[in-house]
Amino acid sequence: MRVTVNGEQKEVAATRIDALLGELEFEGTHFAIAVNYDVVPKARWAETALADGDTVEILTPRQGG
């Protein structure tokens, strides 16, 4: 399945968000995730299915002004 993760096209086997994080080796503990501009709370990562063509944003805390 082809998805866009943080602006990059990826071919992935994962069909759910938590599996996607594992497959792409996102190892941190503080993430917020949006799929197609919809925020998916952490509690729903294990149950949220990904579809071909989805756009996924994986975000973390960062410096800001």
């Binding site: 501009y37 975000l59 973390t60 805390p61 002004g65």
Partner: protein, 260 residues
């Protein structure tokens, strides 16, 4: 003590966490500033990276509260989604709302800003909108439910100080019950003091401290300036006059004699 949406903070100086020479200097500067509310952002993580975790632990060590921003958002949709991501990530309803109209000037898109603020307020956010000094825009933001308004002094990172003093004074006068914060464009502690002297509740700055030769010392200078400005406002500044008025008593002046 200053209240934002009913939450009390001890410092009237809000400070950013970006652009410091090192993470250690960032921590020292924030401590020296006395700020207990600091701005942060949400950004993409790289696969395998733990940049976010590392940064977050630095902030946690400081024991401060965070004000996440929507910096870099150019549309209502981006800003609203970024705000929701920030709420998920930081567990706070506070959001410094930025909708940018122009990448060169970082001028706020005030129309998009009002629209995004209304959406977020309805969703339970405590919105801190970064806006221009325009009274009409500020009133629209208040109508949308904002209890904090953050007009710029000058463009972000420009260090020019307060460029439209009369408009900022008018905002203070016309919005007496709104918490007003001068955000962006301050370069020197005297600029911050001026904002507080005008009756602004607080200032928010980043570059002026982070890009100083000694950010820790500059943070301390801003802290003192904010205290001075606020104390002066509470003390009640005298009204400027067009002409001189002697401070030394005239009565008893040596060699004085009545005109004949």
């Amino acid at each position: 003590m200053v209240a934002f949406y009913g939450d009390n903070f001890s410092s009237r100086l809000l400070i950013g966490t970006a652009l410091y020479p090192s993470p250690a200097i960032m921590q020292q500067a924030i401590r020296a500033s006395g700020a207990d509310l600091v701005t942060v952002s949400v950004r993409r993580e790289t696969a395998g990276g733990k940049t976010g975790d590392a940064f977050w632990s630095l902030i946690r060590e400081l024991g401060v509260k965070v004000l996440p921003n929507t910096a870099g958002c150019h549309s209502v949709r981006e800003a609203v989604t970024t705000a929701k991501l920030a709420r998920e990530l930081f567990g706070t309803p506070r959001i410094k709302l930025e909708v940018i109209a122009d990448s060169e000037t970082l001028q706020p898109d005030v129309i998009g800003l009002v629209e995004a603020a209304a959406v977020l307020i309805k969703d339970g956010f405590e919105v801190y909108p970064y806006c221009t000094e325009d009274l009409g825009v500020a009133q629209r933001l208040v109508d949308a439910g904002c209890r904090v308004i953050m007009p710029w002094a000058a463009p972000i990172g420009s260090a020019r100080g307060i460029t439209n003093r009369e408009a900022l004074k008018l905002l203070r006068q016309r919005l007496p019950d709104i918490t007003l914060v001068v955000d962006a464009g301050l370069g020197a502690p005297s600029h911050a003091a001026e904002a507080l002297e005008l009756g602004y509740d607080a200032v928010l700055l980043n570059t002026a401290v982070a890009k100083a030769e000694d950010p820790v010392a500059m943070a301390k200078a801003f802290r003192m300036a904010v205290d001075a400005g606020r104390t002066a406002f509470e003390a009640g500044l005298m009204t400027p006059r067009d002409f001189a008025s002697p401070s030394t008593p005239v009565v008893g002046t040596p060699f004085w004699h009545a005109a004949s």
